[in-house]
């Protein structure tokens, strides 16, 4: 992609990436809490109470990062961890 196009597409890409990653991380984290050694209803409610903080923090991070690439890199570890907990048999 030419640098000039990229330059102007960047806000749009960041916005789309922010919404998508925040949605997925919120969703996975609200399921991953079930792996905690707590009664399920306690874990479920804790996950829901914290969900909006996860969403907000993810969006802020995506715009905080210096580039889209570093925004992606920063989310890589939590994403892998959450996917492992959600789908790796932990829940």
């Amino acid at each position: 992609m030419p640098a000039k196009v990229r330059f102007h597409l960047e806000p749009l890409l960041r916005t789309l990436f922010a919404i998508l990653s925040a949605f997925l991380l919120t969703r996975w984290s609200s399921i991953a809490v079930l792996a905690l050694p707590w009664a399920p209803e306690q874990a479920v409610l804790t996950g829901m109470l914290l969900a909006f903080a996860v969403f907000a923090a993810t969006v802020i991070w995506v715009f905080w990062a210096a580039s889209l690439r570093s925004a992606c890199m920063g989310l890589l570890l939590p994403t892998l961890l959450l996917i492992y907990v959600c789908y790796g048999g932990g829940v």
Binding site: P11, S30, E41, Q42, A43, M48, A56, I60, F63
Partner: protein, 506 residues
């Protein structure tokens, strides 16, 4: 063309702040305004039903049960569900309602005499409360999602707004009067920072109130069956189980005795509501809930304690559970609703909510005033945004005050009266929108703010002429709700006039 992202992190936070803030700001403003009014939900209902006797603190609100139960036996013995809302400081009436195969009914009784009191048909403060999270005329779920998206954007705007500042404290203590855009910036910072903990709290806890709708995934995974989810919710919210009637006659146990039993386990806190399912049937159940607003005895939780009894044997079947996550949820909910607050607490809530309205209004004015100075921006877009500013920031308050006028002016015997009060609000708002589009900008501001001021100033007069609870009478009776309403109307009218005069050349 979208501006490129800033190179510096503070620039990017400012951009995020600007766009998350601006996109739904008109919606947020009406949500904040009606939400702020909702702290006075019962007081507004009292004002909008002047036939109600003055609310007062009762030593024994439970005594009113002796009027409620005979009334229900006499008028609704065939109903499958009774609800009794006991009177209190915030409501001067005993409210009994019922539903069943033969339909629904409701009656207001005087708490001392048990006689029926006719009140005018109005949604009262309930309208503002419902509107602030599910709007009006829209499908409920759609509206709630829309409000949720707006609330999340508000949360993001608050966080990025804080992160934009290098020296938030110094900016907070700066105020430059009469400097156009600079003044809007300083006013915006003032409103925002002064009440920042409140803004963050009310936005986050607002999302929490509808979290089972917004983030249901963990719950759906752990409790896939609808029944299981209902059971979980029933641990903390007072829910009457929907068991069918047995068809076998059995005498209803003594409800006042159950009420006393509940009070004894709530440090003597008063009971606010009693529900009875299948009265006179073998499967009868009695659900007793504590009255809100007794923070000294019950804390601030948004889930008031409840007890569910067997309606024949009087056996305790269930009580509100207390576990860490339940209590955390109750606390966050309680902070949002503010029902625990006594009247000074409610005024503090309202004042902070008003600061929120100020933050949104000045934020929007700052946005337009910045764009007006820069050439090259879309003139048509700016023209429209400035008119919509008038229609929302001045026009919606006019419409709200018009609702109070209609409440006093529409004939009491009119059919669908409550609905027409609300249609009236939206028609006036539409009128303000058209007015804003047709008039020059400054005239639009001046005329609508001036109209809001005039209508507000007229409210005490209208109330004096149409009811027997005008200012002198309510002063003599020490009626805080009516005195407060009159004084606040005048105060807000002066504020509107002042805004109308200051809207010159900005």
């Amino acid at each position: 063309m979208i501006a490129p992202l800033g190179r510096h992190v503070r620039q990017r936070m400012a951009q995020l702040h600007r766009w998350t803030g601006v996109l739904l700001i008109w919606l947020l403003f009406v949500i904040f305004l009606t939400g702020t009014l909702s702290f006075f939900r019962q007081e507004l209902t009292q004002w909008m039903q002047p036939e109600r006797p003055q609310g007062r603190e009762l030593a024994q609100p439970e005594a009113a049960l002796e009027h409620a139960l005979p009334y229900l036996w006499q008028h609704a013995s065939a109903a499958s569900h009774w609800t009794i809302v006991l009177p209190g400081e915030r409501s001067g009436l005993l409210d009994v309602s019922w539903r069943g195969a033969e339909g629904r009914g409701q009656a207001y009784l005087h708490p001392d005499t048990g006689e029926g009191v006719q009140v005018r048909d109005t949604r009262g403060g309930e309208f503002f409360y419902r509107f602030h999270f599910q709007l009006h005329y829209l499908p409920v779920l759609t509206a709630r999602y829309l409000v949720g998206i707006a609330a999340m954007m508000m949360l993001l705007a608050l966080i990025s707004g804080v992160l934009t500042h290098k020296k938030i404290l110094r900016d907070f203590f700066t105020f430059r009067w009469g400097k156009g855009q600079r003044s809007w910036l300083d006013a915006h910072n003032g409103f925002s920072v002064l009440a920042l903990p409140f803004h963050l709290m009310i936005t986050y806890t607002g999302l929490v109130t509808l979290m089972t709708l917004y983030v249901p995934w963990g719950m759906d995974k752990a409790f896939p069956e609808q029944e299981q989810r209902q059971q979980l919710i029933g641990e903390i919210f007072a829910f009457m189980p929907s068991t069918p009637s047995s068809g076998q006659v059995a005498a209803l146990t003594s409800v006042p005795a159950l009420v006393e039993q509940a009070r004894a386990s709530w440090q003597g806190a008063h009971v606010g509501r009693v529900q009875i399912a299948h009265p006179g049937d073998l499967s009868a159940k009695v659900l007793v809930e504590a009255q809100t607003g007794q923070a000294d005895r019950l804390g601030i939780s948004g889930h008031p304690p409840f007890m569910l009894f067997d309606g024949v044997t009087g056996e305790l079947l269930k009580a509100k559970a207390s576990r860490p996550a339940y209590d955390a949820y109750g606390t966050l909910l309680g902070l949002h609703l503010g029902r625990f607050a006594d009247w000074p607490g409610r005024w503090l809530y309202a004042l902070l909510g008003a600061a929120g309205c100020g933050m949104l209004a000045t934020g929007m004015l700052l946005w337009t005033s910045k764009r007006r100075r820069k050439p090259g921006h879309s003139r048509v877009g700016l023209w429209l945004v400035e008119r919509l500013n008038v229609a929302t920031l001045a026009g919606f308050p006019v419409a709200v005050v018009a609702l109070f006028w209609l409440n006093r002016l529409l004939p009491v015997e009119m059919t669908a009266r409550a609905q027409w009060e609300i249609h009236g609000l939206f028609l006036v708002w539409l009128g303000m929108g058209i007015h804003a589009l047709l008039r020059p900008l400054q005239s639009g501001w001046r005329e609508q703010l001036g109209l809001a001021g005039l209508l507000l100033l007229g409210l005490p007069v209208l109330n004096l002429l149409t009811t027997d609870r005008g200012f002198p009478a309510s002063l003599a009776a020490g009626d805080g709700v009516f005195i407060g309403f009159d004084l606040l109307s005048v105060l807000l009218a002066l504020l509107m006039f002042r805004c109308a005069r200051r809207r010159r050349g900005v």
